[in-house]
Amino acid sequence: MFWEKKFNDIIESFKNKNKYALAKMITLVENNPDDAWKIISKLPKNKSPHIIGITGSPGAGKSTMVSKLVEKYSEKNQKIGIIAVDPSSPFTGGAFLGDRIRMRTLNPENVYIRSVASRGSVGGLCDSIFDIVDVMSSYGFDKIIIETVGAGQSEIEVVYVADTILLVMSPDSGDEVQMFKAGIMEIADSYIVNKIDLQSANRFLTQLKNTLNLEYEEKHLRKIFGISAIMNKGLDEVIDWIDKHKQNLYKTNEIEDRIKRRKVRRTRSNIIRKLDYTIKDYKIEEENLFELKDNLIKKLTGGKSND
């Protein structure tokens, strides 16, 4: 197989914690989705890192916040892997990946940043995200931070990948009606209102507190924070909460539910990706749609169509 040679070339340096080999291994799983699981099963097992998902609309300050959080983790000598996802063009497949620009001050000794393009996946991540997380876990980070594309209300895939989810919001990003909508507002474990120095911040925070009514949800320890990432305000409390949230996930066994949910989603995502490739192979004419459907089902079920 094509990937095996590349794999054999890099596996020793990967085990010796060479960053270049890690980068190559991620490319390998990204470019060979069908073989990703075989590749991953040959990698060393390591203790599970805490996977933290950071989502929110474009311009809310996700990258700046990630940068400041990771700076603090790095000072404590923790090893952090960052996956920063940006959108691919639906027309050309190309992508402009610019999140690292706001993470320039991070110490490369303790931090690895990988920019990832969504490659046609909707929901804020990319189809290979589970594989990339596995490769990075095997490499041995203490924490993996996933920053989503940042598109908005239906960007919820991160809930299936991360242990702890932070939703970054900025004041002026809408009224109560936005807060009532399903989707992104439901998936967060904590709500971070960034740019707290803006005049409108207090009103927004009050509205958010009233809408969410978090006092009644002690089990999840969900919480609202007001911070200013750029001015380095309020981040220590967020860091304490992240650790507490992780402990709580294990104490209440909720981590089991989240891992199970992740496995189901991963399987679904693999099937859909395979289906998507199969559809792309067909020359689709409108009048042949029913025939196409039958052919696809036959192909996927090994000849048995139960229409």
Partner: protein, 134 residues
């Protein structure tokens, strides 16, 4: 194989004019590549560190300050040190014609001067990356 060409575009040195770097990044994006832009005022080591972490297939630098030879020498020195010598390097910006032979001699694969069409840049970048593997 679901391969995409990954390009790191760097802006080394102290000049902060990055319109050209951004326009080229956008053109490469529109030609179907995944472009990682490092931002302005980066040191050669920072750019190489990025190329390494991002597993770049090719690195592009934009230099307008006149320091292109010195900066490219430094970048290529670090690339060798880090084992990135097989990654091609291209250059754009204000580069006098006379300097091109020397730049190619020290290891720059291609130089695109002012006025080069974006189409030509993206076609050449693809050729360089895909040609390398054949």
């Amino acid at each position: 194989m679901d391969r995409r060409i990954r390009v790191v575009i760097g802006k080394p040195g102290l000049d902060g004019h990055d319109r050209g770097a951004k326009v080229v990044s956008r053109a490469l994006r529109d030609a179907g590549m995944e472009v990682i832009y490092t931002g302005i005022r980066q040191t050669p080591s920072e750019i190489i560190e990025t190329a390494l972490e991002e597993d770049a297939d090719i690195i592009g630098l934009s230099i307008l300050s006149g320091a292109h030879i010195r900066l490219c020498e430094k970048v290529i020195e670090i690339m060798k040190e880090k084992g990135l010598d097989n990654v091609p390097l291209f250059l754009g910006g204000i580069i006098p014609e006379n300097d091109i032979p020397q730049l190619k001699k020290i290891g720059v694969t291609e130089v695109f001067g002012p006025g080069t069409s974006l189409n030509l840049i993206s076609t050449r970048v693809k050729e360089i990356v895909l040609g390398k593997e054949v």
